[in-house]
């Protein structure tokens, strides 16, 4: 059997692979959003901007400070994560007592400011970030040519997603984080510095976005609008997975990447709306999302 529904198996396998690569980015970005929303109740519209900042930090590091790709994988999320903490301390913490809408507006405005500034300094065409030497070349899988770098993206993404899930759901640190959202005053009474925990959570979520930015830098043009085109899809992924569900965001990120990949073969024109169609269906049939709790 070499064809399924008239599509050659080789093509299906190829698209499955590419879908997983894209899904890895979705998963990592939606994971950060889910962490921030699940633990802080903030709809972080600046997520795409932090993703772009992560890529730009890597690019600038390479051009001006000689920071190579491997160091950037570590340093860029660290720097951008710290920036996230500063943002949380300066702006977001003032909004916790207000309607969640204010947090959304704040972060949306922040995204516009960040993207506008990047635009001012770097222009719209973006710049190229070279693929690190060790990851150049391709695997010939028989049914397709897979660039080594894309395989690397899947590996890193799965590792990062799993460890984040593990930390939050299975460790004492994660328990503290979750307790901070359930009952902050009580946790504070136990001597935990809750504001610090919250700030660190935001920083962590933002660092995940920055890490995704560094990972994507070698495969797409590093440009100011790289985040805004992605963040809307990622929001849909989070809604489908269930707002705030860590596990849901990872699984739905990967699955939707694959679904989108197949749409690109069957009906390419619809590939940028298929995720939203699924989101609409999920909202009608299961408003809390596939993995969300009522």
């Amino acid at each position: 059997m070499t064809e399924i529904f008239g599509v050659p198996v080789a093509v299906i396998l190829g698209q499955l692979m590419l879908g997983l690569v894209n899904g890895s980015f979705y998963a990592m970005l939606s994971l950060g959003l889910a962490v921030i929303f699940g633990l802080m109740g903030i709809v972080n519209f600046a997520h795409g901007a932090f993703y772009a900042l992560g890529a730009f930090a890597a690019l600038l590091g390479l051009q001006h400070l000689g920071v190579n790709y491997w160091a950037a994988l570590l340093l860029s999320p660290l720097v951008i994560g710290l920036l996230g903490i500063v943002v949380e301390r300066l702006f977001l913490r003032r909004l916790y007592k207000l309607d969640p809408l204010y947090g959304l507006l704040m972060t949306f405005g922040l995204a516009l400011v960040i993207e506008g500034s990047l635009h001012q300094f770097f222009g719209a065409s973006g710049q190229s970030y070279p693929v690190p030497a060790a990851l150049r070349g391709v695997f010939n899988l028989g049914f397709m040519i897979l660039p080594i770098y894309r395989a690397w993206v899947i590996l890193v993404s799965v590792a990062v997603c799993f460890s984040t899930w593990f930390v939050i759901e299975r460790t004492r640190l994660g328990a503290t984080l979750r307790a901070a959202t359930e009952n902050a005053p009580l946790l504070q009474a136990f001597g935990v510095n809750v504001p610090l925990v919250v700030a660190a959570t935001y920083g962590g979520g933002v660092a995940l976005a920055a890490l995704a930015g560094v990972l994507s830098a070698p495969v797409i043009q590093v440009s100011p609008q790289m985040g805004s085109s992605l963040v809307i899809v990622v929001f849909a992924v989070v809604v489908i997975g269930g707002m705030g569900s860590i596990f849901g965001s990872i699984v739905s990120g990967l699955v939707l990447g694959v679904v989108e990949g197949f749409t690109k073969v069957i009906y390419p024109e619809a590939s940028n709306i298929v995720v939203f169609v699924i989101m609409a269906l999920v909202l009608v049939l299961r408003p809390a999302g596939l993995f969300g709790k009522e």
Binding site: G14, L18, N22, G123, V219, S229, K264, P268
Partner: protein
């Protein structure tokens, strides 16, 4: 609370009062409007660089015409046709707009052409590619100045088919510009003895092109026709390199600007065929202009940015010759004069609105061939204006066949 309401009311009233005389004063000036993508994917192609070029043209002209001050209004259409059209209408109604310069995006420009016809205001389409602007969507006030999809296809597709690239597969941006470009290229490929194998329509601004590229590869075609622009072009070419597709298929940039090549780097872009209306390093005139432009922007001008400069001067010269900004008189003058500057030699505006001028088929140099900064292109062929833009099609009622 009450005080605050009164204060707000007062402030609003003052603002309205303050505006009125300003709007009146503006009608004494010659007002050049520029509506373009200033913040999106096409912002480097024209954008703020084009605004700088218009300012240079105004300064070179002396800052005034017919004793009236020349001023420039700039707006960002955000790639949304409704924003472009309503801004144009607003300037025409309230700011005494004399001429509109339209930047990137064919979709937005089709909407703006309709306003130009309704408001009877000369309109130079400088950024868009869609040849429909001088065919189905033509108006008596439209001048399509820099390039169009017909010229791009006639240039790039002809040369590639002649060099042995017979079978084509297209990666097409799924909107007016992409489909017009693909259609134009398909016709040229067929006419020159090649064949069109297939196409995939890619939504504008897709984040990943690899799936589409695998389909292109599966088609077995020799040439990968990239009927897209801006960031889509850069990202699709990058991915084609990464997946090793460029080893088997020859990529053809149906529209690429020098800023795209600069941001991709020669390593990725080398060998690419493309067609352009302007290149900074063609002759002494282009180098002289580009040197002054570079000092202001730190980049060499794209064909759009050079076109903005040339079009502004062309318009101002026509106003001076007519002795008025009357739209119909200026259009009549524009259509009978020859354009001679750093952008066009012996260029002229045809009845359907196309500015006929030479176009250049280029090949991107390899990193070894490039000797100095921005030394990116080899001229493969200079196409005469008539060859590039083709005969009048008869689709525009103003220009019967």
């Amino acid at each position: 609370m009450k005080l605050k309401t009164i204060a707000i009311g007062l402030a609003a009233g003052l603002a309205i009062l303050a505006r009125a005389p300003l709007a009146l004063a503006a009608t004494d000036d010659v007002v050049i409007g520029d509506i373009d993508d200033l913040s999106g994917t096409y912002a480097d192609v024209a954008g703020t660089g084009a605004v700088e070029a218009v300012k240079m043209a105004i300064a070179d002209f002396g800052g005034t015409v017919l004793g009236r001050k020349i001023v420039i209004l700039v707006a960002d259409h955000q790639n949304k046709p409704d924003i472009g059209a309503s801004k144009f209408r607003e300037w025409a109604d309230q700011n005494g707009l004399s001429v509109l310069l339209g930047g990137s995006n064919t979709g937005v420009n089709i909407a703006m052409a309709k306003v130009a016809a309704a408001k009877k205001i000369p309109y130079f389409a400088l950024g868009p590619g869609g040849a429909s602007l001088t065919n189905e969507d033509c108006t008596a006030y439209t001048v399509h100045y820099v390039y169009d999809t017909t010229a791009l296809a006639n240039g790039t597709a002809t040369v590639i088919v002649q060099n042995g690239g017979k079978s084509w597969f297209y990666l097409t941006a799924d909107y007016a510009f992409g489909t017009q470009l693909q259609n134009a290229a398909s016709k040229v490929v067929e006419a020159s003895g090649g064949k069109n194998v297939g196409a995939v329509r890619v939504p504008l601004g897709a984040s990943d092109f690899s799936s589409f590229l695998l389909q292109a590869q599966g088609s077995g075609a020799q040439v990968l026709g990239l009927a897209n622009a801006g960031e889509d072009f850069s990202n699709s070419l990058k991915a084609a390199n990464e997946f090793g597709i460029t080893k088997k298929m020859k990529p053809a940039a149906l529209l690429a600007f020098i800023t795209n090549i600069d941001s991709l780097g020669l390593q990725t872009a080398q060998g690419l065929y493309l067609t352009t209306g302007f290149y900074w390093d063609l002759n002494d005139d282009t180098r002289a202009f580009s040197k002054r432009y570079f000092e202001k922007t730190k980049k060499e001008p794209t064909m759009d940015q050079a076109g903005y400069y040339s079009a502004t001067l062309t318009y101002l010269k026509a106003v001076k010759a007519v002795g008025a900004t009357d739209s119909d008189k200026v259009m009549a003058e524009l259509k009978k004069t020859r354009i001679n500057d750093m952008f066009a030699k012996g260029g002229y505006i045809r009845a359907d609105g196309v500015m006929i001028h030479d176009m250049y088929v280029m090949q991107v140099k390899s990193p070894q061939e490039s000797k100095y900064p921005w030394d990116y292109y080899k001229v493969l062929k200079v196409m005469k204006g008539e060859e590039a833009f083709g005969p009048i099609t008869g689709l525009c009622p103003l220009a019967p066949k």
